[in-house]
Amino acid sequence: MTVEISASEGGIPHNNFLGIGLVGSVVCLYLAYLNVFTGMDVFSVFGGIAAVFALWWGTDTIKNLCSYGLGTGVPSAGMLAFGSGVIAMLLATRLEIISPLVIPVGAVVIAAILGAIIGIVADKIVNMHIPVMVKALTEMAIVGALTLLGLTAMASGSFVFSELVAGTALINVGGTMIELPSFAASALGGCVLATLFMLGAIALQHPFNACLGPNESQDRTQMLALECGFLSMIPVAVISFVFISSGAALIGFLVSVIGWAYTYMEFIKLSKRDAYMWLDGKPILEKGGE
């Protein structure tokens, strides 16, 4: 006897999620790049919104993939997405040598190639034989790469490699504290990417994993995806205090908290709508009365 991993049919078609998620995420990444044009860093918060778009899209992809019965759990799909996504994203940040503006689109392309290859390997060699495997893993790699680009941009103000390795640390030089450049205090040197990686990986698989069941409904699952996205932005906003100005970090923090609070309240409302009964301090209601 095993738990049935079931999900709802119908609703908004998956390709709508793909279109809106992909375009929205890339546009927000370019908005985050306004940091460079304006010389301020208040636009870092758009990196977080890009991540929310990508996670919202990726949730429907995971639902699509896991409804076929993978044999393993849902979390491994999230790990696969981000494992391939982080590799693609890091290469994409180096595309600055062509032009920094290429980076978001470059990340999509590299992640798509990587995801497609891993999908072919999983489908044909490991013999998963799931019809949507290649497409789903391609999408998930792109989602992983875009989420990581977005969260990195939110944390450090930029997704360009040369800026990700630049950091300053207060070092005691002869009694006075001087700010000196230090690789160890940079975003890549301190491997903040590790935290962002796990934040995204759990946020990607949680909505479907937490909402699966016979009464799963698409709008509730997607609302939870938005909530997980904004929730992930909160610790990133705290980390961003190191790399961007306090004002910009504070704006990011406020946007994350407000966005999270709203989507959380909406999710609770939708859960109340879908639940069999909403009881407070009542005993077990055995089936068939009593």
């Binding site: 738990v3 999230g78 040197g189 903040v192 796990m198 929730l231 610790p235 705290v238 879908d274």
Partner: protein, 299 residues
């Protein structure tokens, strides 16, 4: 010599922090039912057994704890980078990680149980109100000790990895060790307490978890009391030994034979554990003996 003493001292502290982390991690994942045993809580309404257990389906324990510890470590690293005191940074990092964990717990319960409406499982809001904070408290202990241990490894023992990366590494290992050791005890002994001791659960009994228990209708809070007597300490010993022996064999023996001393020490340790395991296995076979008659293991 002095650096060796400091090394051994730090190893001992790290080992004890790891033991506490392991125990707290396992108790937390039993109070808020998580991981493989939770599949039974998910299955129960399907089989007609309505329950008041906290169906916390976040993911398995390893990735979940990798996230909490990486978050705690990342925020602590960031706060230390703006020159906040290390201990305060780790406390704040762990607190924020616990906040995120608590939210994930509530959305997991609401999401899963709302989707079980077809099987007439109600959503009990008082479960969220009473159990979530207890889960968060245990998680805080686990995260704080784990991140503190990682910080000590970097600062005092000179490990090259930065704090967030060590947070993932040891968070995942913590979840894996605690999950492996504690899950069967919670899953079989506590969830299926009414079935006879000393045998595995027959497949026909899947889903028939205990719902009416010693303190009235069972709440997940009661699970902590039970599992902290054996599964929690066992997980603590497991993870504590892993961290302690990993550090101990390096600190003491790495200077011998250009590093190969630590490797040989590790091989010897593995062989010792293999012998102990063989002893435990034979003891069980000789003391318990084979299953004799064909009586069912259910009451």
């Amino acid at each position: 010599m002095e650096s060796l003493l400091v090394g051994i001292g730090i190893t001992a502290i790290a080992g004890s922090l790891a033991a506490v982390a392991g125990a707290a991690e396992d108790t937390e994942s039993d109070i808020g039912s998580q991981g493989d045993p939770n599949s039974q809580v998910q299955l129960a309404p399907q089989m007609g057994y309505i329950n008041r257990i906290y169906n916390k389906a976040i993911s398995g324990e390893p990735p979940a704890y990798a996230l909490w510890c990486a978050m705690g470590a990342g925020i602590a690293w960031a706060l230390m980078a703006i020159n906040i005191n290390a201990i305060l940074a780790i406390v704040i990092g762990s607190a924020l990680a616990v906040f995120v964990q608590g939210i994930y717990c509530t959305t997991a319960y609401l999401g899963r149980v709302s989707s079980l409406a077809k099987f007439e499982q109600p959503v009990y809001i008082d479960i969220i109100k009473s159990v979530t904070t207890v889960t968060m408290a245990h998680a805080f202990v686990a995260i704080f000790t784990c991140v503190a241990m990682c910080h000590l490894m970097i600062v005092a023992l000179g490990h090259p990895f930065p704090l967030p990366l060590l947070g993932i590494v040891w968070g995942l290992a913590l979840g894996a060790a605690g999950s492996a050791t504690g899950n069967p005890y919670y899953g079989k002994e506590r969830q299926y307490q009414k079935y006879k001791f000393g045998a595995g659960l027959p497949i026909s009994a899947s889903g028939d978890i205990v719902r009416y228990a010693e303190a009235g209708q069972r709440s997940s809070l009661d699970n902590g009391w039970f599992t902290s007597k054996l599964a929690g300490p066992a997980s603590g010993i497991c993870f504590g030994l892993i961290v302690f022996l990993e550090l101990w064999r390096t600190v003491l023996f790495e200077s011998i034979a250009g590093g190969w001393g630590a490797v040989i020490a590790g091989v010897v340790l593995i062989l010792i554990f293999m012998v102990i395991d063989r002893y435990v296995e034979s003891w069980a076979r000789n003391t318990y003996g084979p299953y004799t008659s064909t009586e069912e293991a259910s009451s």
